[in-house]
Amino acid sequence: MQPASSSAQVPESLHPSGSSAAGPQGAAGRTKARAAMPPVDRGWAPYLFLAPYVVLTAAFFLMPFFNAIALAFYETNGPRTRVFVGLANFRFLFADPMFYRALENTTIFALASVFLQLPLSLGLAVLLNSSETRFKSFFRLILFSPNLVGQIFVGILFSVLFTPRYGLINRSLQGLFHWGLEERWLTNPALVMPALVLTSLWVWVGFNMVYFLAALQSVDKTLEEAARIDGAGAWSVFWHVTLPSMRHVVVFVVITCIIGSYQLFELPLALLNTTDGFGPDNSGLTLITYLYEMAFRSGDLGLGAAIGWVVTLIIFTISMVQIRASRILED
């Protein structure tokens, strides 16, 4: 829990602020307006404490951010040469079938995440939350454990689990349904997205479950009890009492889930490694894989920035719609 060792020399530089803080007036009368608050004007101390964050953010967030605006209007060949091309990057993008394929795949993945993954997470959370379930934290640990494994490692592992005839998944499907032993999940364009979604379920069902479980535990038990006494069935208690009182977490989880889905990159890249992360016929191409390909494999950082802006816009729009919708729901 040690802070960065470089802070060892800070006390000397901080000393003047410490002594000025001891004076009753402090630096200026600007805190007078907040007479109700405790006297907390400590001169330079807060500025010093925030300096590392501010300096690093200026250098590695603000500068690249403004550069990203400019860069989207340039064509570059590697980081060194650039030519101004106006809106040509965006024109190229909106004429490129690969871009639409990526957008389609990513959207399908986002929809699958919201409508498959989240209900499963919620279901498991409800199962685990019921008071008789002993070993609650034990099973929570098990179901959460795939999240400790990086997406790249998950992708590598599942690329072998999906092996035709011998893979664990193919064999399990054969054992359960007498189907799927020879299915080529990762080289059959029709099965690439299902494979990706299945893998993502394995990883993230437990992740969202942790959030739902925490929310369920903070739901007011007396409300549920009152509804039960009034004769509501288990299902209608859940639907009319429990779910509405955890709506904040549901909105939060849905938004993070969609945002995460639109940034999907590492999982397909590793899972579909033998086809450059694209899948056959671009069947597993996502927006960020497309960005990666254009910006860093082909070397056009300008086009990469343009794609980045499109992704940002999509994510921003969806979050705004979602937040607006949840406000309307609350009224």
Binding site: L50, P64, G150, F153, I156, L291, I315
Partner: protein, 308 residues
């Protein structure tokens, strides 16, 4: 019918019996246990499969789904061949590179990033929580806004920046740009707000400097939060792929995720076991850290979400 079907049948068979004998509550409880158990089996199966794959010889890799039956265990079916191949020095432009080099790179990268992030975030979060100063509201608004920007947007210009700063293909080049995160500062702000002001004032009266208060009073109090944050940060960097893959060029600087994706291509047709072994080894440090910090982690993860 297969063994699997009989097993499933056996699992569900007690259901009607319970329903008749002990009533629906007992049946529901049993069904719940079966559902949770099955979900856990699905989640754990790949891990068990991986553990078997690591030790299975190439010649029997596909013969047994998991481990071979105990009677078949010998050095021909179960051995350390995958480790030997994995740890062998691989030729590169600048001499042979050993697997431990990547482990070392990943460890240094993840550890230094985590410690630096912890320092910057906790200092900033403490300042935001416990001081009034000019520009505070503006800074908070900026931080909230900056969290809406996906990191990929900045990657192309960041790459240019790192190249211009001559930090490309070095560890500092993948560490420094990601030390300051609005999210980290916010997490610590939330944790520091609940530290009582009286305690800080008592520290001041006793002659503690402002930095001393942060280090001696605040940090010990937000320790659970700090532990959760460390785990999240470490996981993020240990598993990070995009930036290191773009920013690092020479073989001996690579981190584990990069090199293992390369091995997938190298060994795909000959021996899965080699990169599966590497993957299994790469899973160990996060798992150990997680088990050590488990309790803090779950509460820290959900603290921001479950407040409204």
């Amino acid at each position: 019918m297969d063994v699997v079907h009989w097993l499933l049948l056996a699992l569900f068979a007690p259901l009607p019996i319970l329903l008749l004998r002990s009533g629906s509550a007992a049946a529901v409880r049993y069904a719940r246990w079966v559902a949770i158990g099955l979900a856990s089996v699905v989640v754990l199966a790949p891990f068990v499969w991986l553990l078997a794959a690591v030790f299975k010889d190439r010649s029997v890799f596909n013969e047994y789904v998991f481990f071979p039956p105990l009677a078949q265990w010998s050095s021909k079916t179960m051995n350390l061949g995958n480790f030997v191949e994995l740890l062998r020095g691989k030729p590169s432009v600048d001499g042979p590179v050993y697997f431990w080099q990547y482990v070392l790179n990943s460890t240094v990268y993840a550890t230094v990033s985590t410690v630096a992030q912890l320092g910057v975030s906790s200092l900033g979060g403490y300042a935001l929580a416990k001081y009034e100063f000019r520009g505070k509201a503006a800074l908070m608004a900026f931080m909230l806004g900056s969290m809406m920007i996906p990191s990929v947007l900045l990657l192309a210009p960041l790459y240019k920046l790192v190249v211009d700063a001559r930090m490309v293909d070095t560890l500092p080049g993948i560490i420094i740009p990601w030390i300051a995160t609005a999210y980290g500062v916010f997490l610590f702000r939330q944790a520091c707000v609940s530290v009582p002001n009286e305690m800080l004032d008592a520290g001041r009266i006793d002659g503690c400097s402002e930095l001393g208060i942060y280090y001696r009073l605040v940090m010990p109090l937000v320790r659970p939060m700090a532990a959760a944050f460390c785990l999240i940060a470490f996981l993020q960097h240990w598993n990070s792929f995009f930036a290191p893959n773009v920013f690092l060029h020479s073989q001996r600087n690579f981190t584990l995720p990069i090199v293992l994706t390369m091995y997938v291509n190298d060994y795909h047709d000959t021996n899965y076991g080699v990169y599966l072994t590497g993957t299994a080894l790469a899973m160990i440090p996060p798992a150990v850290l997680f088990l050590a910090l488990q309790r803090e982690f779950i509460s820290g993860l959900t603290s921001g979400a479950v407040k409204g």
